[in-house]
Symmetry: C2
Subunit: 421 residues, 2 copies
């Protein structure tokens, strides 16, 4: 049986008639190379924003089930148009809704989780020699309602289908050429990475790299789906995300990522007794605020109050404040301070596991530039520093230079001292 591939095109790649035709010809090219193709499409450019604006015009708090019915139309429009374009190129294409494609989800409207993929209809269509286009970001719930998968949903649709039909690769087409050693807008000498491991990609997605959604990378890792991030607008290969056991090279540092849209909340005078922290973060979770770095200063003396500090996405700041207000009174917390001007810079690399010197070099590099580190968090393959948001570009450039990430050949397994010069 010929290879099967899944190709996913994001919103900017199908934003107008010309781009839809370009996507169609990319799809047809793969078909003509003898592959069976399933393509997952997002809504065109601003379609989703327009639909949300319509809903907000009608209702102050749109019903989630109806929001899903509304938003799911955008991807269907993209797919129908692309199918037309493919048919004009002399190939036969069929567009399927998430439901027709067999994407079965739970009933959590606007943020449904995929619980099953019944891909019989896709398999049948592929056997009938059709190119299959699937509306991304959506599914059908166990109670037969249309659901949407939330942020990054179309990537998740693509990965889930690739897993279900056993595709050789899931290609993610976007307006960037792949995964870079840093954001090229901040570091012009950043290099495109030919490959990264799932672990690295997860850390990068979690720490500000926007090319792939965290959730789809997790799904791909769990189900062993090979991801290939590449550009819709050029032919050259992008970045392949692979299992760590597959990679021959173990770069010490792969990339520097950053984020400037963070905020910090500091709670002072927090009573030092069990359950307080749990109550605080339960309230935030219930308000759908994703907490990133957390620091708690234990009081030096028994019975004194503690201080808890954490970062969240800027867009969640108001929701977090609203969620904490009742908790404050209830627990007797002295004060809640917020700081919206927070940024984060992270260095990521599977090779740092065995090189404890990396952290020291990060701190030295930032210190040399007189950039103050406000919070630190680490994982085995990542070091993140919370800093003032205005210092982020300089910090990224300094770290990218310090770890020599612009070099054509990535450093391999050399002692930390050698490359730190």
């Amino acid at each position: 049986m010929p290879d099967t591939i899944v190709m996913k095109f994001g919103g900017t790649s199908v934003a107008d008639a010309e781009r839809i035709k370009r996507a169609a010809s990319r799809i047809v090219k793969q078909r003509e190379a003898g592959r069976r193709v399933v393509a997952v499409l997002s809504a065109r450019g601003k379609t989703t924003d327009e639909l949300i604006a319509m809903a907000e015009e009608v209702s102050p708090r749109p019903d989630p089930r109806e929001m899903d019915m509304l938003l799911s139309t955008g991807e269907r429009i993209s797919c129908a148009l692309c199918a037309m374009a493919i048919n004009d190129l002399g190939h036969r294409a069929i567009s399927l809704t998430g439901s027709q494609a067999g994407i079965v989800t739970d009933t959590s409207h606007t943020k449904a989780r995929i619980i099953d993929v019944r891909a019989d209809r896709i398999r049948q269509a592929l056997d009938d020699d059709l190119i299959v286009l699937v509306a991304g970001f959506q599914g059908v719930s166990t109670s037969r309602d249309v659901t949407t998968l939330g942020r990054g949903g179309s990537d998740t649709t693509a990965v889930a289908l690739a897993a279900a039909i056993g595709a050789e690769v899931c290609e993610i087409y976007t307006d960037v050429a792949g995964v870079f050693s840093a954001d090229p807008r901040v570091v012009p000498t950043a290099r495109k990475l030919p490959q990264v491991s799932f672990e690295e990609m997860l850390e990068m997605a979690a720490s500000g790299a926007k090319v792939l959604q965290l959730r789809s990378v997790e799904y791909a890792r769990t189900h062993g789906v090979r991801l290939h991030c590449r550009s819709s607008f050029e032919e050259s290969p992008g970045t392949v995300v692979i299992g760590e056991d597959e990679t021959m090279e173990h770069p010490l540092i792969t990339a520097v990522t950053h984020s400037t849209e963070e905020a910090r909340i500091t709670l002072t005078g927090v009573p030092d007794r069990p359950g307080v922290a749990a109550a605080i973060f339960r309230a935030l979770a219930d308000a759908n605020c994703n907490v990133d770095t957390i620091i708690q200063n234990e009081p030096r003396e028994e019975g004194r109050d503690a201080e808890v500090s954490f970062t969240i996405a800027s867009e969640d700041l108001r929701a977090a404040e609203r969620a904490l207000e009742p908790i404050r009174a209830e627990l007797g917390i002295a004060a809640i301070d917020t700081d919206p001007e927070i940024g984060k810079v992270s260095i990521i690399g599977a090779g740092m596991r065995s090189h404890p010197g990396v952290a020291a070099q990060v701190f030295e590099t930032l210190a040399t530039r007189e950039i103050n580190i406000e919070m630190i968090s680490t994982s085995p393959i990542k070091i993140s520093c919370v800093i003032r948001s205005e210092a982020v570009p300089e910090a990224v450039q300094a770290l990218h230079e310090a770890f020599e990430l612009s070099l054509a050949e990535v450093q391999r397994e050399r002692p930390i001292g050698q490359e730190a010069r």
Copy 2:
């Protein structure tokens, strides 16, 4: 069990957020009056035109299956938005696609026919005390593809659902207040008709009245669904369409209808042998041209050629010419002449069945105004005259006046001479 009603809102009635909220409150008012409500919605104002324009930008001849996938999104958007608005009014609403509502069609994409209505899900939702909103104009085919019902499709959806769930009435909300004795833009004294029979409504729809689509009226008559055409923008009752046996009154003449968008095609030198007319009209039918009035002049002498003349909608003129060109050569027809400036005026009334004098009065009325009648066609309850399109407004006014249709009380069963003065 409380009464169940179906309410259908057309495109202008859901064109923007304000109108959607107004439709929502009309629906809620019926619910609060104790009725179970199923509402069928069309796409918002220009949505369908915009979607068609998108398709044409991508493909010169869009694939019909994909066209249906594309166009069906418009009604879903209307339904989702209206459901949100109803939820805000403190009632619970659920929107359903044509497929979810159980509208099963054949596989004729872009002009599918309804072959079954499996309304279990609607019934269940009504039993659960929900207001049910259904996306009009669409269904799911026996091969599980999304289909659309073609022109007038949302009216047909509404009538089909009313029949399936045994609704007391199917209310059709539009931007006009009901069915009038003539187009009020042409005849300012035209009166709103409190009721018309199915037969009259069918003739009116077929002869230019745009308030209801022919097809939905046929469906309603076949399945005994009571129709009520009324305004979305005012509260007063509109026009009820009922079985002839139900009506106590038998007006001689109910209304004058007209159309100015007609064209005439005249074939001269048509060979006088069996099968020729069949070949001509088969070619037109295959090109989807709906032929209206047909006149054939038999040759006076054996073996001489005949002349065939017929009218069609102006928009079909070019398609008809293209369809006839090969037929002309094949059959040896001398010439094809076209006249795009054709109009039609018709008078309709169930009471005229027993009054042969009506036709004479129509011709006299037009003769007095020196309006030349080019073709005539009749049914038991209709007389249509094909005239120059520029003469149509004057002809409508003259006939409306001659048959005294502005009177508050419609004439009943009187001898023709009495009202013809």
